[in-house]
């Protein structure tokens, strides 16, 4: 901004604003003040022209620029998510679970009653990853993802930051897409944290060698690591699908804790439904049913049909709830 004009305005300001109006001088002074304004108005076009060059991109490079801008917002969103103390705490907690399981197994061993998968960990550290994921994928991982997803829009609305993001303008569809990506990345991070923690704990505490799959086939260790990747990726997609459910819930309210609770209750509710035998026909349509299908990667051959079906269910959930989130958020009045 021009320093000359700053000088000008500071000198005239006290005259217009701070001097009490006196008979006979007030009108003239005000006239002068308005005159100033219109003079300044004349210089406006110049200021705007400078503005376009200084801070804002040219419109000509709109499409690559738009992609870069979206990446920047995604980066900002991720930075926010992974800098937030609450989220860091959840990731640390998740990372602790495989360690705790490993220590418990090492300390107490296992007897005849324990499932084979548990005893297998003692024989092969790599199995700890699968064991940890199978234990966490039903509640703790969905909980972590539900917190981030339920908080995504409702939290911003509650804090009032949503109105500033939208006037920035982040764009509603764009912001929602960025939030969805953020939730997906957090879901992947959460699964990866469990997998990596499981791998490291397993490597440190137990012998590592060729992996016995559920089908009884034994595969080399690298194949086992590959399967860890598949399992992690599959679980992350499942968590992302839940994340979009949470995102949709999050657009419905301004109370983040309500959105988080609703998301987690959805998970628990659908697990209860899935556990009732009489409601068996409903099971294939529940999100929770398919989370544990990652064990398809531990069969020989890999149960691509079951996992593929799971991925389709995840995609269907993501599509429907993503659309609901968009339908709600793109037209919602932001009154917070």
């Amino acid at each position: 901004m021009s320093t000359v004009e700053t000088e000008n305005s500071t000198s005239s300001a006290p005259t217009a604003a701070d001097t009490p109006p006196e008979p006979g001088t007030g009108t003239a002074t005000r006239g002068a003040a308005i005159g100033d304004a219109s003079v300044a108005g004349g210089a406006r076009s110049g200021a705007v022209a400078r503005a376009a060059g200084a801070g804002h991109r040219d419109r000509s490079d709109a499409s690559p620029g738009a992609a870069r801008a979206v990446l920047r917002l995604v980066g900002s969103e991720l930075g926010l998510t992974f800098r937030r103390p609450r989220n860091i705490a959840m990731l640390i907690l998740l990372a602790c679970v495989p360690v705790v399981i490993g220590v418990a197994l090492k300390a107490f061993g296992s007897d005849e009653e324990t499932p084979a998968i548990v005893t297998q960990v003692a024989g092969n550290g790599l199995m700890l990853t699968f064991l940890s994921l199978s234990m966490l994928v039903q509640l703790l991982l969905p909980l972590a993802v539900g917190v981030v997803a339920g908080d995504s829009i409702a939290g911003e609305a509650n804090a009032g930051t949503l109105r500033y993001l939208l006037t920035a303008p982040a764009g509603r569809t764009r912001l929602l897409a960025v939030k969805a990506v953020n939730i997906g990345v957090f879901g992947l991070a959460a699964c990866a944290v469990v997998a990596v923690s499981g791998l490291i704990t397993g490597l440190v505490m137990f012998p590592v060698g060729p992996v016995t799959l559920l089908s009884g086939t034994t595969v080399p260790i690298m194949d086992g690591v590959l399967r860890v990747l598949i399992v992690t990726g599959y679980s992350a997609v499942g968590m992302a699908a839940l994340g979009l459910v949470g995102l949709a819930v999050s657009t419905l309210t301004e109370v983040p804790i309500g959105a988080v609770a609703a998301t987690v209750v959805t998970v628990v509710f659908s697990q209860v439904i899935g556990a009732i035998p009489q409601l068996g026909p409903v099971r294939p349509y529940l999100l929770t049913t398919w989370w544990s299908s990652f064990d398809g990667a531990l069969r020989d051959p890999i149960a691509t049909d079951v996992m593929g079906q799971g991925l389709l269910v995840f995609a269907a959930y993501a599509l429907v709830f993503g659309a609901i989130a968009w339908g709600r958020f793109s037209g919602r009045d932001i009154t917070s």
């Binding site: 089908s215 009884g216 068996g280 544990s292 659309a323």
Partner: protein, 395 residues
């Protein structure tokens, strides 16, 4: 402007609605599309023609190599079974709900069945060289069966079975005629065309019992239109639109599966058991008969006292049985839960009945009725409870 906002709102909500419709259509239309994409309609066949074709194929050709997914769905109307967790791949769990079984068949007696469970799997592998394995990942055990020489290949076995059953049948046509004739007394047999199962065009034999006491409305058997491999069996209870029991392929492929499927090496650290040839009954763990699954421990103990009443669809089996005996048998053959506990929970829903013969409890499911008399007899059959009571009175 106002209308613009309204229109915008309508458009916005149209998107989730459309998404829902698309998903719903994909779920609903999947089978339809599969059916439409299926083979063109098959030529019409009478029951006799169809059976003749089946017999001819069975006699002259080995069943083709194939793999697929079989889904078994039982809604027998049993009270929910208190299955212990972790036994989802246990054979007992097949009694309720829906289960998936994977099948690989490579010809020459090479077969693999896999029953996937939650973080577990039960496999039966027959390598075609005289060895078969039962692998149970939940217990980390391998049972190795050495098959007797004679039953190495399925082809030989089936042909042999057919000949034993009807030793005088010489031509497939003859065989079909005899079968139909035998069935005619109790059963009406018809053929439905135009079925599509797992994307294959199929014929469907419909067997309708003539016996009025039977709980079974009809049994359908779908046969692949090309290979005559059975693709699906459904049992419909009277008065029910959905089958009470169904087992069928949801996906099938008639290309040769990878040979690795039929090789098995017991993994390091697994418990390995050897089984004598005479005890080798690889089909046993997948026994589909609910009543047999329940009564097995007790029934084995007292097989001598068993007899049957009636014939055909109305057959009633009678075995000596007491709950006290059962309670002693703590663990089932596969460790899949406590049978006594299961029976007890089933008995909770039982109805008290009495007659000239004494009194007892009747358990009715969609397909099977069971009568436990207080004097220690068990009557079971796919018949109405009244028929059981009658049988009990017959002494």
């Amino acid at each position: 402007m106002q209308s613009t906002w309204r229109r915008a709102r309508a458009v916005r909500w149209a998107v989730p609605v459309a998404a829902f419709v698309v998903v719903g259509a994909a779920v609903g239309a999947g089978p339809v599309i599969a059916a439409v994409q299926g083979d063109p309609a098959l030529p019409d066949r009478t029951a006799a023609q169809l059976l003749a074709e089946v017999a001819k194929t069975a006699q002259h050709q080995q069943p083709p190599a194939m793999s697929g997914t079989v889904v078994e769905t039982a809604s027998l109307g049993l009270p929910s079974l208190p299955l212990p967790s972790g036994t989802s791949s246990s054979p007992l769990s097949l009694l309720s709900g829906s289960h998936t079984l994977k099948v690989w068949y490579g010809g020459d007696g090479r077969l693999r069945l896999a029953l996937p469970g939650q973080m577990s799997e039960t496999d039966v592998i027959s390598d075609g060289k005289g060895s078969a394995w039962l692998w149970e990942s939940a217990t980390n055990t391998v049972t190795r069966f050495t098959l007797p020489e004679g039953v190495k290949g399925d082809k030989g076995k089936e042909a042999e079975a057919a000949h034993t059953a009807l030793p005088t049948a010489t031509t497939p046509q003859d065989l079909a005629d005899r079968l139909l004739k035998a069935a005619d007394e109790s059963t009406a047999v018809t053929v439905e065309n135009g079925q599509h199962i797992a994307g294959r065009a199929a014929y469907q034999l419909v067997l309708t019992p003539k016996d009025s006491t039977s709980l079974v409305d009809r049994v359908t058997l779908a046969l692949d239109g090309e290979t005559y491999i059975p693709l699906r069996v459904q049992i419909f209870a009277k008065g029910a639109a959905e089958p009470a029991f169904e087992v069928g392929f949801t996906q099938v492929s008639f290309s040769a599966p990878a040979p690795e499927n039929f090789a098995f090496t017991p993994p390091a650290g697994a418990k390995v058991k050897e089984q004598k040839p005479e005890a080798a009954k690889p089909g046993e763990p997948w026994s589909k008969d609910g009543a047999a699954g329940h009564a097995a421990p007790g029934a084995e103990a007292a097989r001598a006292g068993a007899r049957t009443h009636g014939s055909g669809w109305g057959t009633v089996a009678e075995v000596p049985f007491s709950l006290a005996d059962l309670s002693k048998q703590q663990n089932g053959p596969r460790g899949g839960g406590d049978p006594a506990q299961m029976i007890e929970s089933v008995l909770k829903s039982a109805k008290q009945v009495s007659g000239t013969w004494g009194s007892g409890k009747v358990i009715t499911t969609k397909l099977v009725s069971v009568l436990l008399t207080d004097d220690g007899r068990l009557f079971a059959g796919a018949v109405t409870p009244e028929a059981l009571v009658q049988a009990a009175g017959r002494k």
